[in-house]
Symmetry: C2
Subunit: 555 residues, 2 copies
């Protein structure tokens, strides 16, 4: 038995949907050479990460081994796969490889961080391969909801691994390569040690539908509309954007792209040659002089994001354009769990304006970009791997995908973030547990999710914040009474007196009684004052606030 | 034309789903006598109302006219209809009328607030009527997802109004009265001026399914389970709780009720005679000695609420009981939009424990309690009102319901909270716009949603909080340097020095340069210090925090 091993280690994306980051390694124990597949972000929310700008995977483990990292491969240009690539460029230092469209997007990110253009290298599709340490890696085209998505063929001395990337089995994807079963079969025929596979739609029981299915429905809808039509979808879903634009063009409408991401994606797709024959676009300024029944706006904000074009139109004008009674708004998208409130808010705002909203509840105007359960089974039959390891899923998805794989006769294992899996033996086994987590981009700083900083913000949001200031003279005697500043708390409580007065009264009483020992000891004094504030607040307003005590001594 | 008028005024529940509160009035303009239908709550969320305990309708308008309020009628015992009844008991002072089960729940709420038992009066079903000022009001039984839901027949000198309450048309509801078409037809035959109608499911295209449909499916599922079965639903859905318990009993399982709401609802249903033959229940203590394959737990927390029994089981033990690999967890419920994250969190926690989770994605184990689109049309055909006014819906629901009604030949109008509708003329018209809003129960205090208190908490959550303290002597000269306390902010910024040091340095520099005029003027000084903190923070960490400046003067 060799002392070298082939390992798989998810640092993000396994046990969650978001911030994908998967390490593969080969070599002697603790001296493996690594490659990293994808480096994405997750989006924060008010519940768990208020005020945070972006959530990145905690890359500490890999940073400490950056000298052993030979390359980073990006499967496709969705934010949860490419979004963190510029944030860790300095710390990881490895070259980034991607296909042309993905590389175009990645380079824009690098440029925003003033990293060099050549940090990202363009690789052609399979059979082209990149040598990276002990690995040879090729990009195997596969259909998804963005151009040029790719699975990775990862050849190691211990055999071939296929990393599916995000995918669906679509033979008519509109833009980009159709799923090529013969190619995947051909790549797999030499034997595949492990298939690391997208799990997103493992609970969807029916075979996935093709992008081509939505075209005729959208065309019918747009053809029947009498006012302005406004449609939203993920900007990166270039095929859908094209379908929507073509439906508009056929109905004699001029096309307007609204929102930075929408324009940037179409630009990247045209620059890299993945998108041809996109209908002519007019500027928002020119659109102002076109009758509204001859306009189709394609806008960002399918998830109800407050600053996106959709939400701005829902609130009022955007770029001089206004949505009105008799217009139609189409969500050619699904709402990601957690975003329902934002989406519903803008639907109601449109309703108040008399705008008809068509969402995906009919199932006619959107198809998923991920393989459904029968599609996952079909891919397994094509690839015939020795082992299936589900990725890109919450725990429930990974577990279900393992059960499905085992039912079909494949070895499989649930591997969540931090579980290093040894793929060298006959059966997959857990080699090690690595500490993983999340890093917050907060303003311009990266902070640890467990640093307590965001926890303090959440506590202030739940409980309010009281600041107590006391001044003591050189002899540790109070100089005047303590005073309080309140933020986020009811102004008056049960006693009908201002809460601040009641608190200051109670704190003043305490200071008068307090012994020398307490007055000399900052910690004891702070603790005592904090306790009084919390007790008094509880009895006055029924809440225990966060308390900051500032003790200043005249020395 | 009479100088008296019949009015309808929603103060909550119209333009939102939640905190229902509908006023009806009759009499001369500005001297109408009122009744209030329902007085419910809405639940807060971290996005918009962090730390808030409950959201109540703003009842200011009605409080100021409490002397003209003759009665409060509660249609059914859901929290969004009865939840605020005790909170406004003192301010409104009117007698509360409800059917027995609803009254039982309302009295428990009154008792928690130390209000008298007889604040709530029990009324029998139609044809019993209550005289309240110029109105005679009767409770017309209708099926819903809670026992003894009722529509209200409101007779006024200007004719009969029917307020549907929440309802579905279920001829086999399991517990409670089946929908009685003949009765509704009979009540309507004298002519109905207006039908004020539930709009929740106006977008659901198919006729609603009966409660009786889920029984056989649940029974099959429970019969096939090999480990412990844990099922959740809304505790108030007594019919469903009974169905679940009976499925357990038939499979030879002992039934355990977990969660305060679950026990309280069953207790109320038994006390008031709406529930008979409920299977025998064992205590959690006794359950410990029963083999797990012979147990069925009925638990609270269908919406993933953190403190409910479901979430506690997902995290570990609850009341000595533990869920384990091989057990089954059933959501016999739907997830209310906005609660997805919490529900998904506990599903994943169960997955980590090896528990199989069955949710409603199959549509087999839950039916809605609200009338679908064809059911709304059916009720309109039965009641044949002169006017339809949709209620219990967001704007999009109300608007769609109006369109549906008009398509079927009825007059209809979108009336959102605060729109006083005059029902006396031939067509409904807006008589007045009343200021409405939300009141927060925050700890033990009621605060206005627009008071700025919660807004400050949200800002601290997004931006962090810096407190600056400066002390000035009798001559308005700084006594030492200003100092800062930070909460919820990164500790070090771009310069690698602690943020607090950089801030104090910049503030100290300013104080040295500051002129006498600034130092004498609290407002100017505070504003200047605040600006420095925000600018320095922005350049150090890329965030502008909330700032509190405490200026203390030794006088």
């Amino acid at each position: 038995m060799s002392s070298e091993r082939l390992i798989y280690l998810p640092l993000g994306g396994a046990g969650e949907i978001g911030m994908n980051a998967y390490v593969y390694g080969y070599g002697p124990v603790d001296a493996e050479r690594f490659i990293l597949v994808d480096l994405g972000v997750t989006f924060p929310d008010m519940d768990g990460s208020p005020g945070v700008d972006l959530i990145l995977p905690d890359m500490t483990w890999l940073k400490e081994r950056a000298d052993r990292l030979d390359a980073i491969f990006i499967t496709h240009a969705h934010e949860d796969h490419v979004g963190a690539v510029a944030h860790f460029y300095n710390a990881l230092g490895a070259p980034v490889y991607a296909r042309a469209f993905t590389a175009n997007i990645a380079r824009r990110k690098m440029a925003e961080h003033n990293h060099p253009e050549d940090a990202v290298q363009t690789v052609g599709a399979w059979p082209e391969q990149v040598q990276a340490g002990p690995f040879r890696v090729g990009f195997l085209p596969i259909s998804h909801s963005i151009p040029e998505s790719a699975g990775l063929v990862i050849d190691s001395p211990d055999g071939r691994v296929i990393h599916s990337g995000d995918f669906k089995l679509d033979e008519t994807p509109g833009v980009g390569e159709p799923f090529d079963e013969a190619l995947w079969r051909d790549v797999s025929k030499q034997g595949v040690r492990a298939l690391i596979c997208d799990s997103t739609n493992v609970f969807a029981p029916h075979p996935g539908r093709s992008e081509a299915d939505v075209g005729p429905e959208i065309e019918k809808l747009v053809a029947g509309a009498t006012g302005m039509v406004v449609a939203t979808t993920f900007a990166s879903n270039v095929a859908r954007v094209k379908t929507l634009a073509e439906a508009g063009e056929r109905a004699g409408r001029s096309i307007v792209l609204l929102g930075r991401a929408m324009r940037r994606m179409i630009e990247a797709a045209i620059e890299t040659g993945v998108l041809a024959d996109f209908p002519r676009v007019v500027s928002p300024e020119d659109a102002a002089s076109i009758p509204r029944e001859n306009l189709l706006l394609l806008v960002t904000g399918s998830q109800g994001e407050r600053r996106a074009a959709s939400a701005q139109l829902a609130r009022g004008k955007y770029m001089g354009l206004e949505i009105k009674e008799g217009d139609l708004f189409l969500f050619s998208s699904k709402t990601i769990p957690g975003n329902e409130r934002g989406v519903i808010r803008i639907i109601n705002q449109f309703s108040e304006k008399g705008v008809d909203v068509v969402d995906d509840s009919s199932g006619l105007y959107h198809v998923s970009g991920h393989a459904n359960r029968p599609d996952l089974e079909r891919l397994q039959r094509i690839v015939k791997p020795q082992i299936v390891i589900p990725m890109h899923g919450e725990h429930r998805h990974l577990r279900e995908h393992v059960k499905l794989s085992e039912a079909n006769g494949f070895q499989a294992i649930v591997a969540v973030n931090g579980m290093m899996i040894d793929l060298s033996g006959n059966a997959p086994s857990v080699a090690e547990y690595i500490e993983t987590g999340r890093t917050y981009l907060d303003g311009s700083m990266q902070i640890g999710a467990l640093d307590g900083i965001v926890r303090d913000r959440i506590r202030m949001a739940l409980n309010g914040h009281v600041v107590v200031t006391v001044i003591l003279d050189e002899a540790d005697e109070p100089l005047g009474d303590p005073w309080c500043d309140l933020k986020g708390l009811a102004e008056t409580g049960k006693s009908k007196a201002p809460l601040v007065d009641v608190l200051e009264e109670d704190l003043g009483q305490f200071m008068m009684r307090a012994g020398e020992k307490t007055l000399r000891d900052d910690d004891a004094l702070e603790e005592a004052l904090r306790r009084i504030v919390r007790q008094t607040s509880q009895s006055e307003i029924g809440k225990k606030p966060e308390v900051t005590v500032v003790v200043s001594r005249m020395r």
